[in-house]
Amino acid sequence: MTHRTGTWEPTVGAVLVGEGLHAGYPGRGDVLDCAHVSVTGRSRLALLGENGSGKTTLLRCLSGAHVPDAGSVAVDGITLRHDNAGLRDHRQRVQLVLQDPDDQLFSADVRADVSFGPINLGLDDAEVRVRVAEALELLDVTELADRPVHQLSYGQRKRVAIAGAVAMRPQVLLLDEPTAGLDPRAVTTLRAALSNLEARGTTVVVSTHDIDFAWEWADEVGVVVDGIVHQGSTVKIMTDEALLGRAHLGVPWPVRLLRSLGHEIDVVAPPRTVSDVARLLG
């Protein structure tokens, strides 16, 4: 296969790899045009890109929800086949949570909703209960278990939707715009929940518009623009003003501020937070 951007090798030890992905929708042309991405364990990947750039399509290809026109997706070295058995297998390893929690929550109460996946896995009742309790705990929504879904706040619904995916015990969790529409407190709670998941060994991939969030949170960044993914360390990608400009994204404020004060951005320990920047300038 010829790659538009030369040869490409997935990162060594990658858990989830998308290679040479072409994808589009009828009447809209190609959204992804030979996109590569690799997700490694223990590394936080944020996908950035403006609306319509193909971020969501990329996540949908990786999760198996969208069948790419060309290219392949593999998890743990096993290439995804889009038949019943292949998808069933893949979905136990990779879970995608969509942006709008209401698309994800369809049961009467929280517990019933989170149990949907484990029940479909054919687990027995005791095991389902264990999975549900664990997922509720990790997302810090245990005390909401018996509440009707539509009485919860938006931030709570987002976390319950993630719990539903987590109850499948995926290796990789793909979150589409998890922070969109959340207030600062809900973002903090969500980030704590994501840390819980990582502590348990789940690899978290996030797509976001929020460049300041990506700068603070991510180890690696993939910018989706013109149908391909530019992936690299957060510092490398998010200091590349030309790339971010082409993707119609802004540059994180610490980068802009430090550069306009004539500072170089430290590649090894980049200043991510206000206190990091203050320490540098103080």
């Binding site: 369809f106 009467a108 009707p148 539509h150």
Partner: protein, 204 residues
């Protein structure tokens, strides 16, 4: 099961349009009265019509492995009563004809009569007659029978139009037979799904 555009002889198409018209006019009047008192009903009926259309545009997983589309008329009849469904069903059938090419303009009357008049009335009657039965049994009966009645009516319309050399009864049994393979399991599934929908709705 929509009768396709132009499938019926012109006289039949015209006759079914004439038969369906009073029901639609009656339903329109019923809606107008409601809306005068509650303008917000317009929005609710718009949502209900959109929901019916969307439900009919997606495939229903079937036990036999084939798949087809639910009619949803029994559900609508229970919620909104049959007269309203006659008018709302006409709108939905017009959309199905023009957006999905299901049914047609010349056969709109015939399709309205089977799907927006006979189906809802049979479903609603079943729902009322089973007044003492458990709620889920009533919903199941309303949905499944509305679906079945619609299909029997369509077969009747086709047999009347094309009696062939066997006469009406012969043609009728042939048309019934041809669609029975897919339609009976679908009616049962629609009934089952209807019960699940109501269970989900009650939590709201």
């Amino acid at each position: 099961m929509h009768i396709a555009e132009g499938f019926l002889p012109p006289l039949h198409a015209a006759a079914w349009t004439a038969v369906a018209a009073p029901f639609v006019i009656h339903g329109t009047r019923a809606i107008s009265r409601t809306i005068k008192e509650h303008p917000e009903a317009t929005l609710l009926l718009g949502a209900a019509g959109a929901f019916t259309f969307v439900l009919s545009a997606i495939k229903l997983p079937s036990v036999t492995g084939s798949s087809s589309h639910p009619t949803g008329t029994g559900l609508g009849a229970v919620i909104f009563r049959p007269p309203v469904m006659a008018a709302l069903g006409t709108i939905v059938l017009l959309f199905q004809a023009l957006l999905l090419a299901h049914g047609g303009l010349t056969t709109l009357g015939a399709n309205v009569f089977s799907m927006a008049v006979v189906g809802p009335w049979v479903g609603y009657a079943a729902f009322r007659l089973l007044g003492r039965a458990p709620f889920s049994v009533r919903i199941f009966a309303a949905m499944a029978l509305a679906n079945l009645a619609t299909y029997v009516m369509t077969a009747t319309q086709l047999a009347l139009a094309f009696p062939g050399q066997n006469g009406f009864v012969g043609a009728w049994s042939v048309f019934l037979g041809i669609f029975a393979i897919t339609q009976v399991p679908l009616a049962i599934i629609e009934g089952l799904v209807g019960v699940l929908i109501f269970k989900a709705l009650r939590s709201w």
